[in-house]
Symmetry: C2
Subunit: 598 residues, 2 copies
């Protein structure tokens, strides 16, 4: 068996789970964001996959395997080729020897919709749910954290095909339950949260977050359990507005007040009295560029995911379908399009369109968007479109025209009140997204012509859902949720082995004999057992066993004279002596119980 | 369940297995050489994979998973980047967003050797054998025959790491046995044959061929079972030389004798009296080009695989490591390098180097290679280096200088006598290569610096072997070996389901009830069973069942009144009536027996 552990923390790793998987010999880095899964890791991945498979099959889904190489034509049909290969650039693409373009699948909506188009004709074939467990590819800008954000990773992706929205809701609910079962069976603590649908598209979507401090995602939730959402999607009530100290409209000199903090201090007002204005440049997929002027309350932050979604909603006004880039324009960046650049803090919501001097920008006008938080402000403070000056005591419809496009584009924050119940406030947790389910609707089936004939003989686009589990990410997330200073603590259900038998002294024939017998007996009844009979000091073996995180350690040591072996539970570090004759049965019971209770 | 069969043969398919897999709804084409494995196919692939896994584990190998994206640096270390991406061009390559080159793994010697270099230090860790079951990529010039020669396919590849050649031989023998077990357990007829090592390199290698008429490979073997080889590698004794009708050296006018056949007729001699000379251009990987003049007996054919190997052997004389291309030069093609082009039939083995007028060619000299068959010829016929003239009655060392490089570069043929026993003659069979095992030696470990410390403290390169099974190809080869006019006949061990229950009349409640009960009971004890309760005519269902090739068909039809069901064995088409109460036990026995006997 290839078994190599490291004493030192590897320099390349930033978070505990990544360090531990490298040190314990589970993975090796082959390139940026590219890892080899060594035998111990592969056993974990197979266990996670098997749990996923069982729950998917139980929910009536059927396993298949779709190609990783995907002809560009399919992605051009759905309209995602440019976004995925150029704009976001997350899809690897290549040219084959026939000079044809191919992409390496980051997801499979296009391929599966093509298969459905070919095979599904009638409502009598519906609903159908097809899934696969497969290596996916993403050319991440910053691959990091080991398997968490790799460029090559294992996913389970499923696609449901339904007659109508009601049937889709059933498939979606079944997947919701299957995902809860999967994560629970893996022995992990998680939270299901509302989520943004991103580039996949569609309406409702929900993420499954493994709770862990090093999680890349922020989850906002209420203690009553009735609300939980990814911060990208979360909504809430902002805190109350304080009374404005200004009562009349006035232009004030405000030198060096280019941040909200400096401005509040200088004017002696609350940040809730300020209308903050931020300029963005939005690039659409047809190459058109739009200047966007966003207004939000001074104490709030713009949620760029929400802003992005609003800009996609209006894309058809500009003959575009999606957004390729969204960038904040500081004074320097403004020089591209205006002769009169302004430091960001001094802009007003009514900055004149005449500021736009360059003809490259759509219509030569700002798209003005205001967040709901500024609509009811009175006597507010805002920029004067002139450096070192602000307006105080401003009011909509009197001093400023309220832009027509009013939306929720603010970032919900810890401490905000919940919308469903004002007495609940939002708490925050860090999570690792390991699952995401989407109601796609007819986005792909319409674009690609995947239709069926319904009961009345009418041809309709198939209603679709898609459902993903990050298998390799889940495996590492388990470590991130469960480790201590000595190493990994695997939940029993996904541990590479259940038991490790350590022979402290391999020159002692009795120790070896008992260990080998137990090893054979345990494996025979399905208790997956490793035997550490290396010629190493007992201390080294104990350290390695703790590091690789096998749930139960059996030591054929001194107590053997009394017919007993020492058994240490990795998680609790509890040690007990158990009769050799009872060991197999005891461990069998422990393992079965732990699979349920972990 | 997604279940769609086609009545018509799909136009894209050329061989029976490809047609059947498409018609029966096992696979769908997504692009050139790229297929989706639908649920029935996936079940077959999982069964083959599981048999492979069990045999590999039993042989002491450990499963892992290596990345598909492979940094070009690794392939440059081994020296294969140019050959694989440019010359042969079988590796897909791409540029990532950091402008780094990556290849899509067609094989994993480079990656696994890197892992071994990192993890293996001491002889005490050896031997080790790591394997994976994974999708591989090859940018085939002509993808065809469905899964037989796809651009994306599933392989099991294993790599052994050994201290020395003796240990490698043990690992190699264990893999040989594991491969025989795998193919036998899949229920297939095969032949293990000596093979050429090709671009993988190394010394000994052996292929496993599934016997089938549509096989792309030709196998030569003797009836005594002691010799079998791929025609690329096969050796034999050529037939005897006939007495030459010429006794004296003479230059004869031979108009329009540019083929062996015409020449024999004109001169009234045997083709065994002729020294045939063929010009090749060989391009080495450092860009150097060599002109090669090959002489072989007139009745024999040049084996370009063997010739290629000989040219690689002398590559270091030209500061090269491998060959990129080997092309025959006809009269027209000769114009690139000579002012005096000759029709191929009129060249002599001693064609003067002065013919080479262009300076692009290495040393301005021919590399002259003669096949063993011409060495002992006397009074032979050969070209006169002049159009419409041949030499007759020629002899080596008198009229012609025998070139120094003498090798076996002839193609063995059906009817040749065997080397191990002159009484045996070679017979020929067509086969589909599904497995290939190689003794690599230290080719990769030396190039990439993967060393270990031996018992005496000396640092040595690890001795390697590599072992591949084409999992998806094997699955299709099974169909190619086993089908009839009505469809596929799966061996029980790899059939997607063991049993299909057909309800002839779904309006008959008794039929449905009995069928559903049997379906549940059979599945409960592990007899994988499908239930066809579609609202279709019974005839359609019977045809579909035959087409998809499920081993046992159970029909809950008329005989139900007598408490019986009809059971038809797909392979023999035998039908019998079996008591409903005995059915589960009977089928259980049949399935278990068939797994052994198929």
């Amino acid at each position: 068996m290839l078994f190599v552990t490291l004493r030192e923390d590897p320099a390349e790793a930033e978070i505990p789970s990544h360090k531990l998987l490298l040190r314990a010999g589970y993975i090796r880095r082959i390139g940026s964001g590219i890892y080899a899964y060594l035998p111990l890791m592969w056993r974990v991945l197979q266990k996670v996959s098997q749990i996923v498979r069982e729950e998917m099959n139980a929910a009536g889904a059927q396993e298949c395997l779709l190609p990783q190489l995907q002809p560009s034509e399919l992605w051009k049909e759905s309209g995602r080729w440019e976004t995925y290969t150029k704009a976001e650039g997350i899809m690897f693409s290549l040219i084959d020897r026939q000079e044809r373009e191919l992409g390496l699948g980051p997801t499979h909506e296009e391929v599966i919709t093509t298969v459905a188009k070919d095979m599904i004709r009638s409502y009598r074939q519906l609903p159908v749910n097809l899934y696969q467990i497969q290596t996916k590819f993403r050319d991440e800008i910053r691959p990091r954290f080991g398997l968490m954000r790799g460029r090559e990773f294992i996913m389970k992706d499923a696609y449901s095909f339904n007659e109508n929205e009601a049937s889709l809701q059933k498939s979606y609910d079944a997947m919701d339950q299957a995902y809860r079962n999967i994560i629970s069976r893996c022995g992990l603590a998680y939270r299901a949260v509302e989520a943004d649908s991103g580039a996949i598209g569609g309406s409702a979507s929900q993420e499954f977050m493994i709770l862990a401090e090093a999680g890349e995602d922020e989850v906002l939730y209420t203690e009553d359990g009735k609300y939980a959402a990814n911060v990208e999607k979360a909504v809430s009530l902002p805190k109350d507005v304080e009374q404005s100290p200004f009562t009349t409209y006035e232009k004030k000199e405000t030198p060096d007040c280019n941040t909200i903090e400096k401005l509040c201090k200088f004017l002696e007002c609350s940040s809730t009295n300020i209308v903050k204005n931020v300029l963005y440049e939005a690039v659409y997929d047809n190459g058109k560029i739009l200047l966007v002027l966003v207004s939000i309350r001074g104490d709030q932050e713009i949620n760029e995911v929400k802003l992005n979604n609003e800009l996609v909603k209006v894309a058809d006004q500009y003959q575009a379908t999606t957004l390729l880039a969204l960038t904040v324009l500081d004074e320097n960046a403004q020089k591209k399009w205006t002769n009169k650049p302004l430091p960001m803090g001094y802009i007003s919501p009514n900055l004149e369109d005449e500021y736009i001097a360059s003809g490259e920008y759509i219509e030569g006008k700002f798209l003005r968007i205001v967040d709901k938080t500024v609509v009811d402000l009175e006597n507010f403070v805002t920029g004067a479109d002139e450096i070192n000056y602000h307006i105080v005591g401003g009011n909509w419809n009197k001093d400023f025209k309220l832009p027509q496009l009013v939306c929720d584009i603010r970032t919900a924050m810890i401490g905000d009140r919940a919308i469903h119940d004002r007495s609940q406030t939002l708490a925050s947790a860090r999570g690792i997204e390991v699952g995401h389910i989407f109601q796609l609707g007819t986005k792909y089936s319409e674009a690609m012509g995947a239709t069926f004939t319904d009961e009345n003989g009418e041809e309709k686009p198939i209603v679709m859902g898609c459902y993903g589990v990050g298998v390799s990410r889940l495996a590492q997330a388990a470590v991130e949720q469960s480790y201590d200073k000595d190493g990994i603590i695997w939940p029993v259900a996904i541990a590479p082995y259940h038991v490790i038998i350590i022979v402290p002294n391999i020159k002692d024939k009795n120790q070896i004999e008992v260990a080998e017998n137990l090893y054979n007996e345990l494996n025979k009844i399905g208790i997956e057992t490793m035997l550490d009979d290396r010629d190493e000091r007992a201390g080294v073996k104990f350290k390695d066993a703790d590091l690789i995180g096998i749930p139960y350690r059996v030591v054929t040591g001194r107590s053997l004279k009394a017919g007993k072996v020492e058994v240490v539970t990795r998680k609790s570090k509890e040690s007990q002596e158990i009769e050799v004759t009872n060991l197999v049965e005891t461990l069998h019971n422990w393992v079965e119980q732990a699979k349920v209770n972990d």
